[in-house]
């Protein structure tokens, strides 16, 4: 039997997408002109789906730091920290994150995906119970599975459902770990972390928050949604990524727990992979500094987020959540979503096509992510291109 025959249904679905237009999962950016512009299929295209929330990928200081680190320390670390050594930059970056987050300790990981894997594997074991939000990212599901813990899902953003389940699970498992995200990446909805904190206290559980899409975006200092809701001190473990607001590749985990650094010796996604490259660490450290010193970045991002949300809302499109840097437009079905996505690209606007099973509730979405680097004119132009396609294809769906 063909070993890859198991994927034939998915492959057939992909073939159908190709028949309808451009491959939405392999869009080629021939030139990247700025954080918000690229050349796609020979046309200058507004990027409205890159998660480049603060637009720091082209920040001159970040670029110079990365280039200097590559020149002085080389292009890669060629191995893991436990086998091949820790660079000074690794420690400096971890200390910078700990200061930024006001946490006792921080560990950096090679990707955001591995940060969630590494944290969950290090925190939970076969005798523990993890309660995770049903809309959690794949990296969280995978980390939970890899941990060997008993994994129970609760309804998305529903502290009462979590409370009910913790009550039912009383006496089961050694430790209970609640896992939620700050900002959910598909719909752009925010977790009620303050309410989850109340539930965790009532049941003596631990709370882990993945701030991948909210770090640098929410809170007075940019620490995330937990800070914005005034409960970041109550969160036991926080994780995040370098690949959104920090404009690089990598991830972090942080905590005040005095034994947190033990994860370095028992978390395989940390131990058995090459450590972050010098260029990545150097640019991330500068990006962190930029976030700390320039609140104008967040102000511009939120101005743009509200502008886009208002603009698309005025067109009568169905939006999935209040204004945030993720604005998701709900379409009636997969065929209309694919058609609209292709027409937007034809019109020089790149957004994300998000389809089941990658979306909650089987929704078909055109997912937009806003950047501080977008100009107000670019946001208005994006709305105008949406309007053109919405008129052409009748994209409005009943609420």
């Amino acid at each position: 039997m063909d070993i890859l025959a198991k994927h034939s249904a998915l492959a057939a679905r992909h073939e159908e997408l190709l028949r309808l237009g451009v491959d939405p999962f392999a869009v080629r950016l021939d030139e990247v002109l700025s954080p918000t512009l690229a050349v796609v299929r020979g046309r200058e295209t507004i990027l409205l789906g890159t998660n480049n929330y603060l637009g720091l990928t082209f920040d001159p200081a970040c670029i110079e730091a990365a280039a200097e680190a590559a020149r002085t320390l080389g292009t890669g670390t060629t191995g893991s920290r436990i086998a091949n050594g820790t660079y000074g930059l690794h420690r400096e970056l971890e200390e910078a994150f700990a200061r930024f987050l006001d946490r006792r300790s921080c560990i950096v990981f090679t990707t955001g995906y591995q940060a969630n894997l590494g944290m969950l594997v290090g925190l939970a074991g076969p005798r523990d119970v993890i309660l995770l939000d049903s809309d959690s990212h794949a990296s969280i599901y995978d980390g939970c599975r890899l941990s060997g813990a008993t994994v129970v899902r609760f309804r998305h953003n529903d502290p009462e459902d979590l409370d009910r389940r913790l009550t039912r699970l009383a006496g089961k498992g050694e430790c209970k770990l609640i896992v939620v995200e700050g900002l959910y990446s598909m719909l752009g909805d925010v977790a009620p972390i303050d309410a989850f904190v109340e539930v965790k206290k009532r049941h003596g559980a631990w709370l882990f928050v993945d701030e991948a899409h909210s770090f640098g975006v929410f809170g007075e200092h940019g620490r995330g949604v937990a800070e914005a809701q005034g409960v970041d001190r109550e969160v036991d473990f926080v994780a995040g990524t370098f690949s959104k607001s920090l404009g690089a590749v990598g991830g972090f985990g942080a905590s005040d727990h005095p034994a947190f650094d033990h994860l370095r010796f028992c978390s395989r996604p940390y131990m058995f992979t090459a450590s972050p490259s010098p260029a990545t660490m150097a640019s991330t450290r500068v990006a962190l500094q930029r976030i700390a010193e320039d609140p104008g970045l967040r102000r511009r991002l939120w101005d743009n987020a509200r502008r886009l949300h208002e603009g698309l809302s005025a067109l009568g499109l169905a939006l999935c959540a209040p204004a945030s840097p993720v604005v998701a437009v709900r379409l009636a079905d997969e065929r209309s979503a694919v058609a609209a996505w292709n027409r937007l690209l034809d019109n020089g606007l790149y957004v994300n096509l998000a389809l089941p099973p990658g979306t909650p509730g089987g929704l078909c979405l055109l997912r937009c992510s806003v950047s501080a680097a977008h100009s107000p004119d670019q946001i208005d132009e994006a709305c105008a291109r949406f309007a053109r396609v919405a008129d052409e294809l009748d994209l409005r769906v009943p609420a």
Binding site: S134, R145, R153, R155, R168, L169, A170, P357, G362
Partner: protein, 84 residues
Amino acid sequence: MTAGDRVFEQVLQLLEKYNQEGRPVSAGTDLGADLAIDSVAAMDLIMEIEDRFDIDIPINLVADLRTVGDLVELVRQQLEGRSD
């Protein structure tokens, strides 16, 4: 009707909306092949079952489910393991 039959009946009720072609359902019905319940729909179904029976079904146990009978047996086991 035995307690086991009642579980089976209630699971059948919950399966109705997933059985869009109205196929006859028995213990041997394959959730994926016969009812076209994919991995995401299966997770939604599990949550509805958890609510109906006031139990938790860890997702570690869901991967091995193939038939309606497997699902009913899993619900029975979780009901037996409930602390109340």
